[in-house]
Symmetry: C2
Subunit: 271 residues, 2 copies
């Protein structure tokens, strides 16, 4: 007979017959989100309405755009006065200098530029390295409106999780805020975690034994990024499904913080 108490104490030990199984459930029926909307309440309700209420042990993955909209991080580009620098680097590619100005304002350093192709890879104020400081022009209703990243996505994640705690007081779901970024060396975008609450973003297997009794030396897995990528598989790009539940993944509990996913500048060979 399996010892369930023991299972709980040792989350990474499985018996042979225990089939690991995770579900990813998209949450439908979430309306267009506006500034000040109670996002966590809307998500909780939509999950209940579709018959998949949130449970303890879930990870709730929320895409950046609905978080930014709820937090009022929408800017009218036509209100922006571009600097001379923004105008100069926008010129060769014909990009909108006001949008380039916004990109610069949201960044703390420029990592790479290709002015001919209109590519600007920056480090955002939070420390994320991505194109255009994560500013997004799609799925924002209204001409000229663009969406900035949340000011503090970890705080956004914690705020959502606090509201979930009202419904699930003993063990509210972990929360991951996700966004779609490009990568070095590889084509296509994938979803990354930009805000994390209630779980460690990285599981460190260093020091654990492999199947042959040897100690694993280097494998630290960025599980928060993998959860964001997994959730993307059920998210509709057309933004009708901006939130997903990952159910059955035994995440490492912890305070969270997406900073744990950022490589230290001094050890990064690709700055």
């Amino acid at each position: 007979m399996p010892d369930h108490q023991n299972d709980r104490d040792q989350p990474f030990v499985r018996t042979v017959m225990d089939v690991p199984r995770i579900q990813i459930i998209g949450i439908t029926g979430i309306p267009e989100i506006g500034s000040g909307d109670p996002l966590a309440d809307i998500i909780l309700r939509a999950a209940r309405v579709q018959g998949t209420p949130l449970e303890s042990g879930d990870v709730l993955v929320v895409t950046q755009k609905v978080v930014s909209k709820a937090e009022g991080r929408v800017v009218d580009v036509t209100s922006i006065e571009p600097s001379a620098f923004a105008s100069r680097i926008a010129g060769p590619s014909g990009r909108d200098p006001r949008l380039v100005e916004l990109v610069i304002r949201e960044s703390r350093s420029i990592v790479r530029m290709d002015v001919e192709r209109g590519i600007i890879i920056t480090e955002t104020a939070h420390g994320f390295v991505c194109a255009n400081a994560g500013i997004d022009t799609s799925n924002v209703p209204g001409d000229g409106l663009v969406c900035l990243l949340p000011e503090d996505p970890d705080r956004s994640a914690r705020t959502i999780r606090s509201r979930l705690q009202a419904d699930l007081p003993d063990s509210p779901p972990a929360v991951v805020i996700s966004d779609t970024f490009g990568r070095a060396w590889r084509d296509g975008h994938v979803n990354f975690a930009i805000g994390v609450a209630g779980m460690d973003p990285i599981v460190d297997y260093r020091g654990t034994a492999d199947a042959h009794g040897y100690v694993l030396k280097v494998t630290a897995i960025a599980v928060a990024d993998e959860l964001a990528s997994a959730a993307e598989l059920v998210l509709a790009k057309a933004d009708k499904v901006p939130v997903a539940i990952v159910r059955g993944y035994r995440y490492p509990p912890g305070p969270g913080g997406a900073a744990g996913l950022l490589r230290d500048r001094s050890t990064d060979l690709f700055r």
Copy 2:
């Protein structure tokens, strides 16, 4: 009444009440794999034994290491004669010069080196940019044995898929070979697709309309990488669960090929 025929023709259109749901199922009971073992047969059998036989529409994600072992891509480091260059760059960090020699032999260019810290990021013969040419020293039974990447992971994926086709002739599952790599800018490793068969590795949303009727300009999603990351969440690092089924994801059928995930050198700002 839903029009199911229409649903099949338009895989990305969902009705409001249709809850998107994906399952990730780890396959347990796979024994230690040796050179020449019929990997696909072993996987098919293990999936049946645990009560989750493969189905049409599944994506089968297989970790590189069992593929490499089945293909005999295991090398005894003690048999390698290091070149003068390998010995020189191994010196400052105290790494094994024979292992460094193997890394160089498996690479077509060195992208970054930090000899003090013993870090070598190369482009492999296949075009993947990763540390140590993807050579892995963990989970290989026997002192001095290390595991190279498959010679042609796309061929490995196609070979596995052909065997699945014997059981599911009309529509065999898509196959993704995955491996764990580090990333620029971010700490921790995640799983990437290094071999793909039966599906397009990227879904291109360019030209489709967003929720507000605007046309999405740039979003191409590397779904094969996201599937690899999703599968990693059920894989036990100790290698007892080296294979997973992703069920319920409507992937874009296609011939496959991980080359579609590799950014062209000439447009890559991080070489």
